[in-house]
Symmetry: C2
Subunit: 324 residues, 2 copies
């Protein structure tokens, strides 16, 4: 079983066919960076059209069983997530609405301060806000998973503590391996994994050691060490693959509508666009390379199966439905 | 000249006639608590209908000269303000749009954390956010005044420091006179007034010493002492008059859409609605009582004229237009 718990490609038949070539049974796709509720609904609509048009390649994923169903029918189950709470605007009632529409992950902040939590690029991190505490409780109730990938450290630790269900960092790597601002420090990973949460390893070059020149071996050794440290059952993949996206999209991701100036995020003025992917992970077709790489560094078949998809499958089964 | 720089009444011909009885040449009215952009536009529309229906009582105010024009023609100029940045959503381009539509004051936060700044009811105050810094610059550019009445202390002081134009606390009183959470401490008032900013005294009973039982003398002595301490030219009235509003409106002000639970704000479960106004300030007809009260406590005619409207008039003249 293979699950990639974070992608934001320029979706097309080509990409869906590559998901099949790569053996992906499920992919969590981002459908909102800065979109408000109405704009997010339009993105659900777009996916409805793709499900209608490519029923032999993809299907809508709502629960863990849909991953099995996709696998059995040779398709990829698509799960929806938001990288920002902008789709719920200032309205707690929208938490249940977006879950009903199919959302399964929502970041509490994206780089900047949100109404709920602080983002990783703010100078100060005040933790979870008053509304944030209410929204976490409501997300717990309906089965919408808290994702803190782009949140600041204190906010992430508080979210893990306040949430009564496990939370996720869907796409990031350990800071001690590659000290990018977006990568996660020990206490943050510990707060999430100790409470049953997951971390998805990112293949986005700005999160990799030596960026685009990162070796498969270095990546896989990092995963093995993270497994030793925090427990392999908390680990999965969240590739952050942004395939075929024009550079205008990375600008939207970074700047949204909040600034009149360009913000380069993890890039820079001279390196503003999407970075080049490492040769061993061009796109969805290369998940087999990671699987082989993990075996090469000495992980067991069972451990590798967990990282490649089994752990996310278990997490989906436990966290996508209202609490019984 | 009389200006009240904050009201949120249940608007009607009766209230507009009382403004005339009270000699109000201008009133700043709140047209957004939690409204998003589209909802705020509907509130501009409502006011357009009132201007059309009551042209002999009220007129739209855009600049300080409109206050003079209103006075000359026996009308009240209505200026628009937001108590929350919700009308600009996450879109910096909306700052200029709302100014063009007529907005002249915008609070950077309302009790809770916003995308721009922290509200006074949050446990932690992280100051002005990344987006907040951008928005302050844009507000300075177009002539939309920063109001920090419901913001937390650090955020207010930072806003005063970051803003290149004076800012306002449109409706609050000194904390040392009445230690309500919403009233302002010395360092906050100082940061605002030292940079040319204004504070408007509130008549909302939760902001008054002894609440509904506050005496006119106590209120006026407080104003005289504040004048001695910070300079009379920085003082005006921002009554926070919420006349004829049903209690459902105070619930909307406090809870908006952000919580499924009731939040009582400055009230309590047993005192949840609008508090009773003091006898000497029932509504717009009683501004004369305040004027007399200020004279009684020994303020000069010139000082009283400044507090009753002259100071806001000067502030309007300097801060409602793009910088030359």
């Amino acid at each position: 079983m293979r699950i990639d718990n974070l992608q934001y490609a320029n979706w097309s038949e080509k990409v869906f066919r590559q998901m099949r070539e790569g053996g992906l049974d499920a992919v969590q796709v981002t459908i909102a960076y800065h979109e408000n509720f109405r704009e997010t609904v339009q993105n659900f609509e777009k996916w409805n059209r793709w499900f209608e048009k490519f029923p032999n390649l993809i299907m809508k994923g709502k629960c863990a069983r849909d991953v099995d169903r996709a696998k059995e029918t040779g398709r990829t189950a698509i799960f929806f997530g938001f990288q920002n709470p902008s789709p719920i605007e200032d309205d707690i009632g929208l938490v249940e609405i977006v879950h009903t529409l199919g959302a399964r992950f929502m970041q509490l902040s994206y780089n900047n301060q949100s109404l709920l939590a602080t983002g990783c690029y703010e100078a100060e991190d005040s933790g979870i806000t008053r509304m944030g505490k209410q929204v976490i409780r409501e997300m717990n109730r309906v089965g919408l998973v808290i994702d803190m990938s782009h949140s600041a450290d204190r906010s992430t630790i508080e979210a893990a503590e306040i949430s009564e269900r496990p939370i996720a960092i869907t796409h990031a790597n350990p800071h001690e391996w590659s000290p990018a601002l977006r990568n996660k420090k020990d206490d943050v990973i510990r707060a999430v994994t100790e409470r049953g949460g997951m971390i998805g390893f990112s293949l986005y070059p700005h999160h990799l050691k030596n960026k685009s020149d990162c070796t498969l071996e270095s990546f896989c050794v990092m995963i093995a060490r993270t497994a030793d440290k925090y427990g392999v059952e908390h680990l999965g993949i969240g590739s952050d693959l942004c395939q075929d996206q024009p550079d205008s999209v990375v600008e939207w991701m970074r700047v949204g509508r909040w600034s009149k100036e360009i913000d380069y995020g993890e890039g820079s003025a001279t390196d503003a666009g999407f970075p080049t992917m490492p040769g061993w992970f061009r796109d969805n077709r290369d998940f087999g390379n990671i699987e082989k790489g993990l075996v090469s560094v000495g992980m067991s078949t069972k451990e590798v199966a967990g990282v490649m998809g089994g752990n996310w499958h278990r997490f989906y089964a436990e966290n996508f439905t209202p609490r019984g």
